[in-house]
């Protein structure tokens, strides 16, 4: 090996060891520095992404219109576009109304945010939202959605910059939630599973008692223990139970449809509201 290559290899290994031995705090500072450096690109990139999505929608509309134009006159052909746009606005309006109702109905102090990026990393189940430290969002805050105005857990904030935050989803292996099963004394730890399966991801409710008597369809809620998540947030429902030698585990279908998430709510105070 040439001396220069050997020196380069030693420097590389030294650098790798230095990086591997950084403390958690230093890593967070490095990440903060990195994200503030690329913030301008992210902002302009988000705008480009929105414009291109709008453009693609327009292209799709144009194609529909083209086929219609061959059968009806151009004046009549405009009506479906207007109708489609109205429908779109109506849906958006309904979604926002639901969001507002949820925000008003809930006892939590929440900040509403939009998901702007889905699953940026290969192995981690994460999303990015358009709200950050400027709106009081910081690490380890719970993120909720709602199903029939009932709060459901989406995940937990991992890191925040000024205008963005990264959310570790409930489906990620790293996200652990202390959970209880309704109409049952059973409590356990709910966690996502490694890797991705096809279809809806299932969660695993661990450390249940050995002879847990549970039925498919029973709902699973947060216990409120553990200092992160408040009590009685809906997590999902039991799909099946696997009995082990020392304890039982249950597979749980999440209440939230993670593929269809738009608006989420970050709970900005951890303590339970007064009853």
């Amino acid at each position: 090996m040439k001396p220069l290559n050997l020196i380069a290899l030693l420097l590389f290994l030294g650098g790798a060891v230095w990086a591997l031995t950084r403390s958690e705090r230093t890593v967070r500072e490095i990440q903060r520095g990195y994200y503030s450096a690329i913030q301008p690109f992210l902002k302009s990139g988000s705008a480009i992404e929105t414009h291109s999505r709008d453009f693609l929608k327009e292209v799709r509309h144009s194609k529909d219109l083209e086929t219609e134009l061959t059968t009806i006159r151009s004046e009549i052909g405009r009506l479906p576009i207007i109708e489609a746009r109205c429908g779109e606005l109506e849906r958006e309006n309904a979604q926002l109304r639901h969001a507002l109702e949820f925000k008003q109905a809930t006892n939590f102090r929440v900040v509403a945010a939009q998901i702007i990026r889905r699953q940026p990393a290969t192995w981690w189940q994460t999303v990015e939202i358009d709200a950050g430290m400027k709106r009081g969002i910081g690490p380890q805050l719970a993120v909720l959605s709602h199903v029939d105005r009932h709060p459901c857990l989406v995940g937990i904030i991992d890191r925040s910059s000024d205008d963005r935050s990264s959310v570790v989803l409930l489906t990620d292996e790293a996200c652990q939630v202390s959970a209880k099963v309704e109409e049952s004394p059973e409590v356990g730890i709910l966690t996502g599973q490694r890797g991705l399966g096809e279809g809806t991801p299932l969660l695993r409710l661990k450390f249940l008692s050995k002879n847990a008597v549970l039925q498919a369809g029973q709902r699973v809620f947060t216990t409120g223990r553990g200092g992160i998540f408040r009590a009685n947030i809906l997590l999902g429902e039991i799909v099946s139970v696997e009995k082990g030698a020392e304890d039982s585990e249950a597979l749980v279908r999440p209440a939230v449809n993670f593929g269809d998430l738009g608006t989420v709510f970050v709970v900005i105070d951890k303590s339970d509201p007064p009853q």
Partner: protein
């Protein structure tokens, strides 16, 4: 050569910005286009070993800065078995390993046989993902490898590999503009032929 080295470094940094806007292809087994790995692998075969190691360090460091998850906290009494996080910096070693793999067939590349390197870039991406998944399994325990995960790795490697020819073309053009060639032996052969 110095100009070319600086430009490859800038290209790698640009790849990090581009990577931010490349979505996962949920319809294709959640595969994705690994732009940073692609640019690094293609650049790694065109430079000398010290430069490759510099690029590997920069890529691994920034990759982990982008994606490392922090501890999610919680009361240790309740969450008595926390899921171990991957240590910041592990990607540096993975990038280094991939870089050495690519440099293994550098003699063929220098002869102008870039297609071997293109093929190897796909293999390297697959091995990178497999090694990363292996690391996670070792750190977190309970080995589990589903067919869906293997499909995700295979599709990601294939998609990334398919884009390597344009990147090689881009690097070749940049090298030409810098008065440098990434196929020195092929260029020498060409010169010899033109003299005869």
């Amino acid at each position: 050569m110095t100009r070319y080295t600086i430009i490859t470094l800038l290209l790698v940094l640009a790849a990090f910005v581009v990577q931010q806007f490349v979505p996962a292809f949920t319809g294709w087994h959640h595969s994705r286009l690994l732009v940073v790995q692609l640019v690094f692998l293609c650049a790694a075969v065109t430079v000398n070993q010290p430069t490759m190691l510099l690029l590997a360090f920069v890529c691994g460091f920034l990759w982990d800065a982008q994606f490392t998850l922090g501890p999610l906290g919680g009361d240790a009494e309740i969450y008595s078995q926390p899921v171990e996080a991957m240590r910041f910096g592990y990607s540096i070693l993975l990038f280094g390993g991939m870089g050495f793999l690519m440099q293994g067939i550098q003699p063929l590349f220098r002869q102008g046989k870039w297609y071997f390197s293109a093929l190897l870039s796909g293999i390297a991406v697959f091995l990178y993902l497999a090694a990363e998944y292996g690391f996670i399994t070792v750190v977190r325990g309970s080995p589990a490898l589903s067919a869906a995960t293997v499909r995700q790795m295979t599709w990601t490697a294939t998609l990334t590999m398919l884009l390597s020819p344009p990147v090689f073309w881009m690097l070749s053009t940049i090298a030409g503009r810098c008065g440098h060639t990434i196929f020195p032996e092929a260029a020498a052969r060409k010169r010899r032929r033109s003299f005869q």
